[in-house]
């Protein structure tokens, strides 16, 4: 079965041999995939969020409201394109295009499937692959920041500028966490090309424990779970999606960097956001979820699941699940405060990532050692950790003074406080009124209002 895999797996040598029309077809396909994914993605998101909030969502235009996004897009195209007086015209025009271009370009190194035959040509289902393909994705996302930042700056008003500044700080910070979590993938796969990483996740790693060989799962989401979690959190931060959508926080910044944008330029920003979401999902699938390979139970009773055009189905299924998680997060979590968000990135994700990389490289080093050295290499750090945990000074919580003690501790002449048991003494005036009043009508119900 492994020979079958090897036959399907494209290597770097398989790229760059296509005729020009095939390259064109692939590029157009990747681009169209981005656009269609946006059209369906907006509909999907609104439908799912509606479902989570117990309302129908878009259901008027087309079957199941499928054409709602198309209608919205057309409406947006015919709206007035407003150019603010203080806007920097050239930069204001270029910002959304930079955003879209960098979001779409990243799709070019995503492997959609294995080697297939298109009009008689054996070719991988991937626009191109280079030896540093994952870095191309990172470069694209770092170029995408320019679109947002310049859009915020060129609008010439305050809220967009604040949104742009926020986004630059946010995306740079989360790119660090993201890059570090990919390091673990590079170390395990031994390559930076996306097709190579997918191929590396194909076969289960064999762990030899006490003489028996145990096949460990091949997906890096399981092998490198901390990296996977951090990477996914970082992608949410990187794509400006809720709960990390601080650059466009409605409650604070109106619409952030796109406040002044309207018509097609706004549509471009929206397009880039959804394409980035799909791209990032695809990258996550490629790096951690086995890429286009069929999930585990399918391959055991259907050997052909990983050949031909079927892998595209698994790929799209996995991407769809991740997009659903994005929408799910948006429907569930409230937006973080800016300082909490930055603290989370720098003080939680980054240190965990560094420690995890250290542990991982330690593991890989230990694997190369012979048995006595291996025990020493594992035992000494473990012993040190245990000692540190044992000898760590504990902090005893001070008993909290009761309310009465706090009241008694107040200095003389403090502002008068009401009694602490909250029993308000009855007003003497009310009692007098009730007592002095003559009963007006004996037969009527007693008056109870004044008390």
């Amino acid at each position: 079965m492994s020979t079958l895999y090897l036959a399907q797996d494209p290597t770097l040598a398989d790229f760059g041999r296509d005729p020009w029309w095939l390259v064109l077809i692939k590029i157009v396909f990747a681009f169209a995939f981005g656009l269609v994914a946006t059209l369906l993605g907006v509909w999907f998101e609104r439908k799912v969020v509606g479902w989570m909030q117990v309302r129908p969502g878009p259901n008027v235009v087309g079957p199941f409201g499928l054409l709602q996004t198309l209608a919205d897009g057309l409406k947006m195209a015919f709206k007035e394109d407003i150019l603010p007086k203080k806007a920097d015209k050239v930069v204001y025009f270029f910002a959304p295009t930079i955003s879209v271009i960098s979001a779409v370009t990243a799709l070019s190194v995503i492997p959609f499937g294995p080697m297939v035959s298109i009009f008689g040509h054996r070719t991988p289902l991937q626009v191109t692959d280079v030896s540093v393909a994952v870095l191309v994705v990172l470069a694209c996302s770092s170029m995408g920041i320019y679109g947002i930042v310049l859009g915020g700056w060129a609008s010439g008003s305050t809220y967009p500028l604040l949104g742009g500044l926020r986004s630059s700080a946010q995306m740079i910070s989360y790119e660090v966490a993201m890059g570090l979590s990919i390091v673990a993938v590079f170390m395990t796969a031994g390559t930076m090309s996306t097709s190579g990483i997918v191929a590396a996740q194909a076969d289960a790693t064999r762990l030899t424990i006490f003489g028996t060989e145990i096949p460990a799962p091949g997906w890096y989401a399981i092998l490198l779970l901390p990296s996977f979690i951090i990477f996914f959190i970082a992608t949410v931060g990187e794509t400006n999606r809720a709960p990390f959508d601080l650059p466009e926080a409605e409650s604070e910044l109106v619409a952030g960097f796109m406040t002044e944008y309207s018509s097609l330029k706004f549509a471009l920003f929206m397009l880039s956001e959804y394409v980035a979401m799909v791209t990032m999902s695809a990258v996550t699938v490629t790096l951690f979820l086995g890429g286009w390979r069929a999930p585990a139970p399918i391959t055991t009773f259907w050997a052909g699941a990983n050949s031909g055009w079927w892998p595209m189905l698994w790929f799209f299924g996995k991407v769809l699940i991740l997009v659903f998680v994005f929408v799910w997060l948006r429907g569930t979590l409230p937006r973080l405060r800016y300082d909490q968000f930055m603290r989370f990135g720098w003080k939680v994700l980054l240190p965990i990532n560094l420690v995890w990389i250290l542990v991982l490289s330690g593991f890989r080093k230990v694997q190369d050692l012979d048995t006595p050295a291996r025990y020493l290499a594992v035992g000494i750090p473990a012993g040190l950790l245990l000692l540190a945990a044992l000898l760590w000074p504990t902090r005893r919580p001070q008993p909290k003074p009761t309310v009465q003690e706090q009241v008694n501790a107040r200095p003389h002449g403090s502002f008068p406080l009401p009694p602490m048991d909250l029993q308000v003494p009855p007003s003497p005036r009310t009692r007098r009124l009730v007592a002095e009043r003559e009963p007006a009508n004996i037969g009527a119900a007693p008056v109870e209002k004044e008390v």
Partner: protein, 257 residues
């Protein structure tokens, strides 16, 4: 198109694709460099520089260094230029260069010197590289570009690399120590502590009296009067001195004649 091809292309003679890419991007890089110097607006200047840096990144990829090319784009263009932009935006969007020349005649001299320097470097490089053939690129990239760089960085140049990172970290920590003011948790007043301070003896917990706004005066500099007729300083903002009203201020307004 791919990294493998680029590596092949750079080992031997200049291929067609490489030449075309170079002759498209090299003028763009120069335009970016000139635009960076010429642009009046600081942000425009930074954007021109971004263009030049992107072109340089592609050049590195063409010269069989895909890793350094991507690093150029991610680190220099994506992170460092972005931090520059960050600062420039905070400065304000109307901050442009002033056109007033403080040193008379420095512009033509600077242009002349710049051209001379460029000519010197250009001819020097041309004469130095004329007829020389690139050697050893295949050996360097034998086990892959990234692997080759990693091997050098972690064996031969590990000390230099560590020193550089130590230098950078020292600079970053120094900047943080100088600029960052952190209050300890104990010094931070939470809501309960603020309320305790407010109701502590010696502090009047109510709102301050408003400044004296009378029919005769509507100035915030006019102090309010206490019930016993004294003026109270608490009603006047701290930056304004308490003062008696002048004659013109006490005369009724709008009632002359």
């Amino acid at each position: 198109m791919t990294g493998g091809q680029a590596v092949l292309a750079a080992t031997g003679a200049v291929t067609g694709g490489e030449a075309v890419t170079f002759w498209i991007l090299a003028p763009l890089a120069l335009v970016g460099a000139i635009g960076m110097v010429w642009a009046r607006n600081a942000v425009h200047s930074a954007l021109w520089l971004v263009l030049t840096m992107l072109c340089l990144g592609v050049f590195y990829v063409l010269q069989a260094g895909p890793f350094i090319g991507m690093v150029q784009i991610i680190v220099y263009t994506g992170a460092i230029m972005m931090l520059f932009l960050f600062v420039l935006m905070l400065v304000g969007r109307d901050a442009s260069d002033s056109l007033i020349e403080t040193l008379r005649g420095q512009r033509p001299v600077a242009v002349l010197l710049g051209l001379g320097f460029a000519g010197l470097v250009g001819t020097g490089l041309y004469r130095a590289l004329q007829g020389s053939t690139p050697v050893g690129l295949e050996q360097a990239n034998a086990e892959g570009n990234v692997q080759g760089i990693a091997r050098l960085l972690f064996t031969k140049y590990v000390f230099a690399f560590e020193l550089t990172s130590a230098l950078l970290i020292t600079a970053a920590v120094g900047a943080m120590v100088l600029a960052h003011v952190e209050r300890r948790k104990a010094d931070k007043m939470d809501q309960i502590a603020t309320m305790k301070a407010r109701f502590a003896p010696g502090n009047y917990p109510g709102p301050k009296p408003g400044p004296g706004v009378y029919a005769t005066s509507s100035s915030v500099a006019t102090p309010a009067r206490l019930p016993d007729g004294r003026l109270t300083e608490r009603s006047v903002p701290e930056i304004l001195p308490t003062r008696e009203l002048s004659e013109s201020e006490t005369t009724l307004k709008g009632t002359e004649k």
